[in-house]
Symmetry: C2
Subunit: 528 residues, 2 copies
């Protein structure tokens, strides 16, 4: 019903309609945005370039090529001051120049393999036996001393590969959305609890990673000292040919010397087969050829930034930001994580330029780097520009940010937005969503979500939001996998997402007031 | 309810219980079979050897090693006359000794690739450009003449890679089983219609394959003449890292000379990426290293056969057969197609020996070769032993086969049996299933199923049956894929299947009469 009324509103066009109590929405512009976003989309061309043409966008030439492409594209759309801006030292860049891995005895089997990020090289095709490590205790590693030379290291694991009786892909059901809509705000603010993550989730993940790394680092040190050829890794979810691969970035530290050790992710099936053959005392031979390259010529990290200048003399110093991380892991071309978000944000500003939007506030797009290793690009942007290092309070520039909108949950269309505990923004966003309810964007939840760049803003008291997106196959097939490729993008979803984002950004730039801030709860947060 | 009564019957044991009108079932032996099959199973050890240890079982050393293992194992169980029996000339054996494929420009990406069966070699690591063929008409190939040297050939395709909103794996629902149970028998007999296949389905498939091959064979001829490096293939379903790979076996013909052409299957995602890059005129470089080997030292095809001799002087000339094809495609280790069926059948006879069964009729196990290329092993067994070439009638040996039972539908447990139109066998099998109803084996359907070795028997009038098995992820992830590996086997399902098969074979061997035959409908069929 509402949808039909809205469509009529859209067709009439031109008038300022008021939904609810106070939000004035420029329906003529909403209509133009929708026409441009849904009918004349360029989002897939952008995604094609960022993925198929550019390749993985991990720190190094892969990221820099994409960043320069985006800079040029944004300038081409007519944005001002399109630029790469260094946020500080990142570390060495890296990429893969060859990866081949196979079993040659008891029979030949080439295996799906991806070097973990910042893996070293084998320097040539090497043939190797397995050193099978059945201990998991760091002390017990001592007993393997002197046995690692020319070996490929395999640690005993018990991954259980199970068939999927649940579909890889799904969309939010109405029930799920209603549950999210009626959820209470998390206690306190700033992403400490609830939702799909938050800082505490990230801290736990990083703690687990560190614990696991103690064993791995000791083994790696022994392996390097003794001249091992490589180390094999897998995860229980790496099945059916889909490998989940990320990497430790210790090797990217400024002074680190690349080692001659291939750090290889393989499938759980192949991993378990090797374990079973070892336990059955079947002689196994492997061959491996991994060549990676480290780049130390420019160790800085760069974000891409560009603006549509504000037109209202009183408001143009204020800024509405939209952003997404442009970097990716390397096992594929990071299509859903996060060429999707980057292409959507680029498309959103393209739409705004195409419809001739004259925003009162300045609109700034940011494409971040180093998100995958810890939100480096956005955190440092916030530190460098928005927070006073001495007082920990927001700078004038920080105070001037009305809101930051982020997209980083894959290829799914927008179903609504996480308030991140900022309940005062709820009624506003509810009204902004109405013209797009018929496209599936309906839900405002007080809940938090975590694990991406809006947190860098939220944690210092700048309103930062991430949209709710349909999951599609993000958690099963694409997120940090070798299958995160262009073909896993859903064109219609991305068109919708860019349309909704363009509308949100436009509304935020036109609104009389900035987006409300949450009640400050920590000393670090601003009291504006 | 029935299940509880049955369990009581099993606990009492020892007596001959009569279900329905006439089937006498030795419940003490059923109980022993169940105990041995479900509690002391060796089916996964057998499957481990056939897959992880042995590797792919395509014609050549891969198949012969597995056949010799099975022969030894069956003799070890105490079966008589365990043997490899040649059924005639198959053609050259083949295997893969190296496979590496990657894109090196515009950036590096190693790709999941599997040579199609009987692919040639590149002889060394070769770097190559793509020749992109946008025509599909055989005549239009002329325009590419003179352009193939040192090229890798890519034909324009429009595969749509879609996320799966349906689970990869499932089991038969009660509704599905009831529908199968109430289905009418197909008109006529002998697998001409209905079910999951039948001879007509196979004929259609082979016709389609031949049509496609006309274009491919012409292109291959040009490619070979001009010195191309390779040809790329894919299928729309080859996604998420799961590749569906089989192969043409023209190259296995007796006199064929292997060519210097790599015939490579890659994923739909990689295939489509290459097509998109070609269309966008982005320069692409590939590197490929494929080494395959042809074996002409023994071109014969061999089945594995062994017996448990009958003990009833009047019936021991009669034979109950159980079988499964032991051969596989080569992209993985053919775990669900059909190490599963082979291991189940080997386990079934092991169970019978372990429980000290003294069958009245002789029980013969057959593990077939060349099933994947057209039921060669079973067809020729039937031709060589069971049919008189001159009269097209069954021989004495053919008349003596009471029934042939087959398992070749993956790793799923047995849910019942296809009558293949032999409705007279229905009431018998319904009663035989009763002691295993509580294990999910309940359904007798008059329907046909096709595509495997029971058809070789059914088509000449020997009662041939295939069991109904839960699909699990057979059609989505394992059937003819690079993911058909040990970890995709379901141990509990295979234990159940071996238990049910052992019971059926035992009951068939003990029954006073042979299994009824269908009404003869063709001149080729027997009129016994």
């Amino acid at each position: 019903m509402t949808n039909k009324l809205l469509l009529t509103g859209l067709l009439v066009g031109g008038s300022l309609l008021a939904y609810g109590q106070d939000e004035k929405i420029d329906m003529a512009t909403m209509d133009k945005i929708r026409q441009e976003g849904m009918q004349k989309s360029q989002v897939m061309e952008t995604a094609f370039y960022l993925t198929d043409v550019n390749g993985p966008r991990i720190q190094g030439p892969g990221y820099m090529n994409a960043a320069n492409y985006a800079k040029g594209k944004l300038a081409g759309y007519g944005l001002q001051n399109s630029r790469l801006e260094s946020w500080g030292d990142w570390g060495k860049g890296w990429n893969v120049e060859r990866c081949y891995f196979a079993m040659t005895a008891p029979y030949y089997k080439s295996m799906i393999a991806v070097p973990r990020a910042w893996s070293g090289s084998t320097n040539k095709l090497q043939t190797a036996d397995i050193l099978f490590i059945t201990d998991t205790d760091t002390m017990a590693l001592e007993s393997y001393k002197g046995k690692l030379k020319n070996k490929i290291i395999l640690m005993d694991q018990t991954y259980k590969v199970s068939p999927s009786f649940k579909a890889d892909a799904d969309r939010y059901t109405e029930e799920e959305l209603q549950k999210m809509a009626s959820a209470e705000a998390p206690r306190g603010s700033g992403g400490q609890r609830g939702g799909a993550g938050g800082d505490s989730t990230m801290r736990r993940m990083m703690q687990t990673m560190r614990t696991r790394n103690v064993f791995n680092q000791k083994m790696r040190k022994m392996a390097k000292t003794e001249g091992a050829v490589g180390i094999l890794n897998s995860t229980q979810t790496s099945k059916d040919g889909t490998l989940f691969v990320s990497g430790d970035y210790a090797n990217a530290a400024l002074g680190a010397v690349p080692d001659d050790l291939a750090d290889l992710s393989i499938s759980a099936e192949d991993y378990m087969m090797l374990c079973r053959l070892m336990k059955a005392k079947v002689p196994v031979k492997l061959e491996v050829d991994v060549k990676t390259k480290f780049f130390a010529d420019d160790i800085k990290g760069y974000n891409v930034l560009a603006e549509i200048p504000g037109t209202d003399p009183k408001l143009k110093e204020e800024v509405v930001m939209l952003g997404a991380h442009l970097d990716s892991w390397h096992a594929a071309t990071g299509a859903t994580d996060n060429a999707a978000g980057s292409a959507v944000m680029m498309e959103a500003v393209r739409i705004l330029k195409a419809v001739g939007a004259k925003p009162r506030r300045t609109i700034r797009i940011a494409l971040w780097s180093g998100e995958e290793q810890g939100l480096f690009g956005s955190r440092n942007y916030v530190t460098n520009h928005l927070v006073d290092a001495k007082t920990s309070k927001l700078t004038k520039d920080g105070e001037n940010i009305s809101a930051y909108f982020n997209v980083d949950n894959g290829t799914g269309k927008i179903r609504g937005i996480y308030l991140q505990g900022n309940v005062a923004a709820g009624p506003i966003f509810t009204q902004w969503l109405k013209p797009f309810n018929d496209l599936g964007a309906t839900t405002v939840t007080a809940q938090n979500t975590g694990g991406t760049d809006h947190q860098s803003f939220d944690r210092v008291g700048v309103p930062g939001f991430q949209f709710i997106q349909d999951r599609i196959e993000y958690n099963t097939r694409t997120h940090h996998t070798n299958m995160d490729t262009y073909d896993h993008l859903q064109p219609d979803d991305l068109k919708q997402a860019a349309t909704v984002v363009a509308a949100f950004v436009y509304n935020a730039a036109m609104r009389d007031q900035k987006i409300p801030v949450k009640e400050p709860v920590t000393a670090q947060q601003s009291n504006r």
